[in-house]
Amino acid sequence: MPKHAQRRTLLGAVAAAPWWWAAFVGTASAQSSTAGSDALDERVRAAVLVRGGLSLDIPVIVETGTSVPIVLFADPSQLRPGVRVTRLGIIAPKNPRPVALDMELGALMSQARIATNIRLGASQSVTGVALLSDGTVWQQSIAVVLTGSACYDGT
């Protein structure tokens, strides 16, 4: 195989599943010990990431990263009938621990909406992730500019 073809396949694979995806799915299988590495690989490969109906509400300029309000909301009108949101997560790529938040939603929630405050270590593009029960993944990113980090507390 010529070298450029190999590179193209590699780039294709990267485009299909972003770098943080394995870490995000991995947190699930690490806790439910039944899922083996084969199952994990399969889920990483099978993931189709689209913008979908996920909205991420976070200020674009933040004074301090110690407490940044964020709202994750999956628009129910974008869901096909019988499909529900099973997990909501936040990826902050430049935080020391990039998987910032991962929440499993029960059937009791009337809307797939979570409001909370997170810490940010640097200016970065914050990504929200929603996993649907049919295997689809919605993602949405917003670039956040930070003037003070949560990691270095004046020391």
């Binding site: 947190t27 699930a28 998987v99 938040l101 029960g106 809307q111 405050n117």
Partner: protein, 119 residues
């Protein structure tokens, strides 16, 4: 004296679970969980340069009448004294309860009554 008393209380003991006082059946409402916890990341140092040991809430679960509302798998980047708000529908009266555990093994829980008029 007061400082010593406060320091002796393990983190994650004080919490609030806020719901509206009385709901109509079918009404959408917000349940807000607040936990008093430092959520120490392990990346900060104290005044003497000593690393403050990491201690974040690892697990949190919110239940309504023992049915799952949400389960937090990873809460790495929640701010100190985290707050989590979710939307629920008032179908029947019952008990909303939250339970959590941090990396140092401190556990906490709180529950509150959800009152739905005539149900």
């Amino acid at each position: 004296m007061a400082d010593a008393v406060i320091a002796a209380i393990p983190p994650g003991r004080h919490a609030r679970l806020i719901v509206p006082r009385l709901l109509q059946r079918g009404e959408d409402f917000t349940a807000r969980l607040l936990i008093q916890h430092p959520m120490e990341t392990g990346f900060r140092r104290d005044d003497t340069g000593k690393v403050l040991p990491a201690n974040v809430i690892e697990n949190v679960v919110l239940l309504f009448n023992d049915e799952l509302v949400f389960r937090g798998r990873v809460l790495n980047a929640l701010s100190a004294n985290p707050s989590l708000s979710v939307q629920l529908t008032a179908q029947k009266s019952g008990t909303l309860s939250a339970h959590w555990r941090d990396q140092m093994g401190n556990v906490g829980s709180i529950s509150t009554e959800v009152r739905v008029a005539g149900a």
